[in-house]
């Protein structure tokens, strides 16, 4: 009796104590087979190699696209491993970055780029005269380390426009024409909020989805919000810009917000039932809206964004230095991120190009948005009642001027801020109490 009981305890104890380590072990032993084929093959004759590309969600790299590369590069086999989510990819990336076992070409997301930058010495320097000027300047700047090494080739970006519900605008006695809406909202955040107040006064309905999503648009226009770019020191608690952004967003959301936290079940449901009139809308959000509300026909896109331009999201391709064929991998990454390939990816998966060359190809961009979904769903152009989505997002991309500095702690501090905003939105704390809690959280960072 006593022995078996003790064994049970040990099992429980072991289970609890090794929790995090088991996760680490799992991810470091998983899906290495394809990679091993490449990195273990050092004796293979040059030109007869297998390259692995690890992506997540959907980068739009179809089998046909990869086949095209293999046809033009005899002796090279390209295999793509797709992780389900960006978070899975992040876990895998950091578990193997030091010890080896990553794919030859690894995709990373801008959200965890600051964390990757700390380990830029473990990645291949991809800077090359042939790709100079290929991307928007701020896109390249974010992936260049202090020594001037470029560690990632830009794939897509998330230039932000405003999505709105045309039917709701008409019900409030406003024009629902995209050009009129753009003209009406042209200006800073104050304009966006004051039009919202008119709307709320007319209808009694919420203007935007939530404080968190709106704040994200504001903070991405602040050059250095949370950390000092020169020293890396955390300045979030003392930065007047951050406090001002917090104050303005919480003040506006008291009357204008539907108080929904982004990606919650309620938020998705509200997209379908038109729970709010407008939302900040990066290019990839179009797919999210269409997916959550396939039967709604009233969503439209206006070529405008408060305060000019803003970027939300986007990815890069990196080449880990531990790979066996880093030169070939670099060549592949450069090819995949060339403007022509990115346009194909846009058509396949809606990933909006970060390449200057693609942004000027307006007709090609518009065409890509007019391509119907693989499963027969209507195209974005049909769903959002617009033939010029490509032009709109290209304009939005060119309007982006600020490249916000994101350091080692950006993610954690922004998380604490999002939680602070949620606490105000759900009424569990007043704006000032929640700010104090945010300050306490920021002081605990590090």
């Amino acid at each position: 009796m006593s022995l078996s009981r003790r064994k049970k305890h040990l099992a429980a104890i072991a289970g609890a104590a090794v929790f995090s380590l088991t996760l680490a072990a799992c991810s470091s032993s998983g899906d290495t087979t394809a990679t091993d084929g490449a990195s273990g093959d050092t004796s293979a004759p040059a030109g007869d190699i297998t390259l692995t590309v690890a992506t997540f969600n959907d980068f739009g790299y179809t089998d046909a696209l990869l086949q095209e590369y293999m046809d033009s590069h005899p002796g090279v086999t390209v295999v793509q491993n797709k992780a389900a989510t960006s978070n899975d990819a992040r876990t895998n990336y950091f578990a193997k970055l030091g010890s080896g076992g990553l794919a030859d070409v690894e995709a990373i997301e801008v959200d965890w780029l600051p964390e990757v930058m700390q380990y830029s010495d473990l990645l291949v320097d991809l800077s090359d005269p042939s790709v100079d000027g290929r991307w928007l300047d701020w896109k390249t700047a974010a992936a260049t380390d202090a020594d001037g090494r470029l560690i990632g080739y830009g794939t897509d970006i998330g230039p932000e426009a405003i999505c709105y519900d045309g039917a709701k605008f008409e019900a409030a006695g406003m024009s629902s024409d995209p050009a009129d809406v753009a003209a009406m909202l042209e200006g800073g955040w104050d304009t966006y909020y004051s039009v919202g107040e008119d709307y709320v006064a007319a209808t009694g309905q919420p203007w935007f989805d939530g404080a968190g999503a709106t704040y994200q648009g504001v903070v991405n226009q602040i050059e250095a919000a949370y950390e000092d770019p020169a020293t890396g020191e955390v300045i979030a608690a003392d930065n007047p810009d951050v406090k001002a952004a917090y104050d303005s967003v919480t003040a506006a959301s008291a009357d204008l917000s539907a108080h929904l936290s982004q990606w919650s079940d309620d938020w998705f449901a509200a997209l379908g039932s038109s729970g709010f009139a407008t939302m900040l809308c990066p290019g990839w959000m179009l797919g999210v809206i269409q997916g959550a509300a396939p039967d709604t026909t009233t969503w439209q896109v206006a070529d405008v964004f408060p305060g000019g331009g803003g970027n939300w999201g986007g990815s890069y391709l990196t080449v880990p230095a531990s790979g066996a064929n880093t030169d070939a991998a670099k060549e592949l990454a450069a090819w995949l991120t060339a403007p022509e390939q990115q346009l194909k990816a846009l058509a396949a998966a809606g990933t909006f190009p970060s390449q200057v060359g693609s942004l000027s190809e307006e007709s090609a961009l518009n065409e890509a948005f007019a391509a119907p979904g693989a499963d027969g769903t209507p195209s974005k152009a049909v769903y959002f009642n617009s033939d010029t989505l490509g032009t709109i997002f290209s304009n939005r991309a060119n309007a982006i001027t600020v490249s916000p500095y994101k350091g080692e702690f950006y993610f954690q501090i922004n998380d604490a801020m999002q939680q602070a905003l949620t606490r105000v939105e759900d009424g569990s704390m007043s704006a000032s109490e929640s700010w104090d809690q945010f300050i306490a959280d920021v002081n605990a960072v590090g």
């Binding site: 104890i13 072991a14 090794v18 680490a24 936290s261 309620d266 449901a269």
Partner: protein, 313 residues
């Protein structure tokens, strides 16, 4: 002594150890080593990627013990544990009694009770978090129809714990009911008959015959649900889209705190310290359980077993 003899002697002497060795080798690799390695990492400022760290003593432990989030997550863990385990054991017992009656289509009912256990926890969490939506959820829509104000499932502490406890109960009640049912069926029917002849009604028979007879099984059920309750992770993590336990840490449990510290903030040294604190808590509670159990089953404790020492040779 010839070699053969010596071989035979070694066989008798050492073979038993060889036979039980596989368990201990596997345990050493998957259990003991990680525990010790976690202890080592918890004293370091650890960098996962470069796989190295600098020694900083017990700094992580003092930091964690002063962290408001840690105490909140401890509170949440115990609250969810009580809200799930207590009703679960009571309801499971009632269901087991009902299944113990002479029902038609016995197997059908028993399988039905076990069905929720087969559903993947993540699927359960998805379904329930949809039901418990604050604005468009099934439960609040129903409450609204009856004229009750909507409950803020993702804002208020207790409602969020109740919602999560519901998921846990949904999954585990039937499983525990079947274990208790098995124990009940082993109770000799003569006892029930004798009690009935003595004039005891069904309720009296349950408390005086059934319950004392299934006490060891009951203890087992309580211990397993305690351990499960302290390690609860899937359900609260899937409860909202961020998986971090709420804006004000309303439903962040201690295993989530551990996960968020490690994989969210990439602070593995501190996560290892949390793991060790959790380890100590579980050891403590297991000892407490042990003490309670010996009290509870003291009545039917078997006679000395230690006399079976030294069987070999």
């Amino acid at each position: 002594m010839t070699f053969r003899q010596r071989l035979g002697r070694w066989d008798v002497k050492y073979s038993p150890y060889a036979y039980i060795a596989p368990f201990f080798i596997v345990f050493g690799i998957t259990g003991l080593f990680p525990i010790l390695y976690t202890a080592y990492i918890s004293l370091q400022d650890w960098d996962l990627v470069r796989n190295s760290g600098t020694y900083i003593g017990f700094e992580h432990f003092t930091w964690v013990l002063q962290d408001r989030e840690f105490w909140l997550s401890l509170r949440n863990t115990f609250s969810i544990f009580v809200l799930s385990s207590v009703p679960q054991v009571i309801v499971a017992t009632v269901i087991a009694v009902l299944l113990d009656q002479n029902l038609r289509a016995k197997t059908f009912w028993r399988m039905g009770v076990l069905l929720p256990y087969v559903v993947a926890p993540v699927a359960v969490a998805l379904i329930f978090s949809n039901m418990y939506g604050d604005k468009f959820g099934l439960v609040n829509t129903f409450l609204g129809d009856v004229g009750i104000d909507p409950i803020l499932w993702h804002t208020d502490v207790l409602p969020s714990h109740i919602a999560i406890a519901t998921m846990v109960n949904f999954r585990w009640t039937g499983y525990n009911a079947l274990i208790l049912l098995a124990a009940m069926q082993a109770v000799p029917r003569d006892l029930h008959e004798a009690a009935a002849i003595d004039g005891a009604n069904a309720v009296r028979r349950f408390f005086s015959v059934t319950l004392p007879s299934i006490r060891p099984t009951m203890v087992f059920v309580i211990i397993t649900s305690t351990i499960g309750g302290l390690q609860i992770f899937d359900e609260p993590r899937m409860y909202d889209s961020t998986g971090t336990g709420g804006a004000n840490h309303q439903w962040e449990t201690i295993t989530m705190y551990l996960y968020n510290t490690g994989w969210g903030k990439f602070n593995f040294g501190r996560a290892a310290a949390v793991a060790w604190i959790l380890f100590i808590i579980i050891v403590g509670i297991s000892l407490f359980n042990n003490w309670i159990t010996t009290r509870l089953v003291a009545g039917d404790k078997p006679a000395q077993r230690s006399s079976r020492k030294k069987v070999s040779r």
